[in-house]
Symmetry: C2
Subunit: 257 residues, 2 copies
């Protein structure tokens, strides 16, 4: 059911807002950005153009929600929708959009059913408080739903729960063109290919993004060249030119995916 | 030598600007934010209050450098200072601060010495191009230096190289008060302690930040409670109250660090 979403040729842009002191303090390694970015790119043809990490402070959340929701087609937030005092995402977003912060009836009944009357305490009830007008993003692993209000989709911070919910966001998204990519690993250093690669990028500047990423693995030094495009034929001509350059320079290479 | 930096009682604030399409596309998992945040917190008493991840696009880099350098005491950038076409950090920062983008004499001579006349090609020479007035951040692992211009410190994106250079930033930083932290793992769920924890946070709102982070590990469900403060005595009273609450509720607990 969730896969019957509209296709749209124009590439859609998204931003991610990570709300959480634990990422800013360095205590927790964020894993949601790479997961969300891959999912959006590969499954939805939606590129992520900005990520911000901010603390659990109401006025900062409000400012960022307003800025990002004005700038991008979609905003994904992670974190701050649990039961404790530092979970203030839903309340802050209500203020950002100047709508009431209130019990969402459906969320309340989902949580009541999940916990039962006697265990449905104040902390758990708080997870049913949302901006007025929100639509739910169902949570198959721990019941407490995320929500969508205007162009903002709010997800939890725990990576395993976020992953279990992500496909339930599809119903709220318009698909863009799929981004195709071609990666090749070269056993050389960046500066040995910088000039030629720069020329190829210039030639294909309208349709292909070429990235160059040095790596050090298992004692070997190399460079990954990643070309990305929504146009299959342009991607092919561009990577053909890269491969020609690699042959001419007699560089050892292997395709990685 | 680098450790002879000034101590300052006021807590300093920093932001991190990650420049790189590879993080936004989801191809590469960022590791620099947690490393930098820990290093700044623990070694320098400097808190990170915002992180942004942006693409390798000149006008976006300029906009973000201007905004962040106005707002924060320090801005750390990672990425975009290598030899290829997509390495545009130094040029963009020159434009952001309206200073010349030119060869840094010392950087040029370091790189010339490292590569030797014959191997010092255009790509490598580019790594000596910096905003006029920059100070170098020496790189013991691969020679190409980072740089500091005004309150912006520019580091490479490769985590191992960044780590090897980081202590060379100390000379440019004023130390803040050390942030102390106390963590305890409770074998319970967040909603069971949300109310009491909220009350304790309210009581210590001026001096202690309490974070609550659910975990699922080795089949167990639990919550890590992390209290952070620059004031030792306030941290102690606050954590004593948390421990009292834990005893009263008969929750199994263990200290993690």
């Amino acid at each position: 059911m969730y896969l019957t979403i509209k296709k749209n040729k124009k590439k859609k842009k998204a931003s991610i807002l990570i709300i959480g002191n634990e990422i800013l303090s360095g205590r927790t390694q964020d894993l949601n950005v790479s997961f969300l970015a891959n999912w959006l790119n590969l499954k939805c043809g939606i590129s992520v153009n900005e990520v911000r990490v901010i603390p659990d402070i109401e006025k900062i959340i409000i400012k960022n929600i307003r800025e990002l929701s004005r700038t991008y087609k979609y905003v994904f937030t992670t974190g701050g929708i649990g039961p404790t005092h530092d979970d203030i995402t839903a309340k802050s977003i209500s203020k950002a959009f100047k709508v009431k912060y209130e019990y969402h009836k459906k969320a309340y009944s989902i949580l009541l059913k999940y916990y039962g009357e006697t265990k449905f305490n104040d902390g758990r009830k708080k997870m049913a408080m949302m901006p007025k007008g929100s639509s739910l993003i169902k949570n198959p692993s721990s019941a407490a739903p995320g929500f969508k209000i205007k162009n903002v989709l709010c997800l939890p911070g725990v990576p395993s729960i976020l992953k279990s919910m992500i496909d339930n966001c599809l119903t709220y998204l318009t698909k863009g063109s799929k981004v195709l990519s071609y990666s090749i690993n070269l056993m050389t250093v960046e500066s040995n290919i910088a000039k030629q690669l720069g020329k190829i990028q210039k030639k294909y500047s309208k349709n292909v993004d070429i990235g160059s990423y040095p790596f050090f693995r298992l004692g070997a030094i190399g460079v990954s060249i990643v070309s990305r495009s929504t146009k299959k034929n342009k991607l092919k001509s561009c990577t053909d030119e890269i491969k020609k350059m690699v042959r001419e320079k007699n560089i050892k290479a292997f395709k990685i995916k």
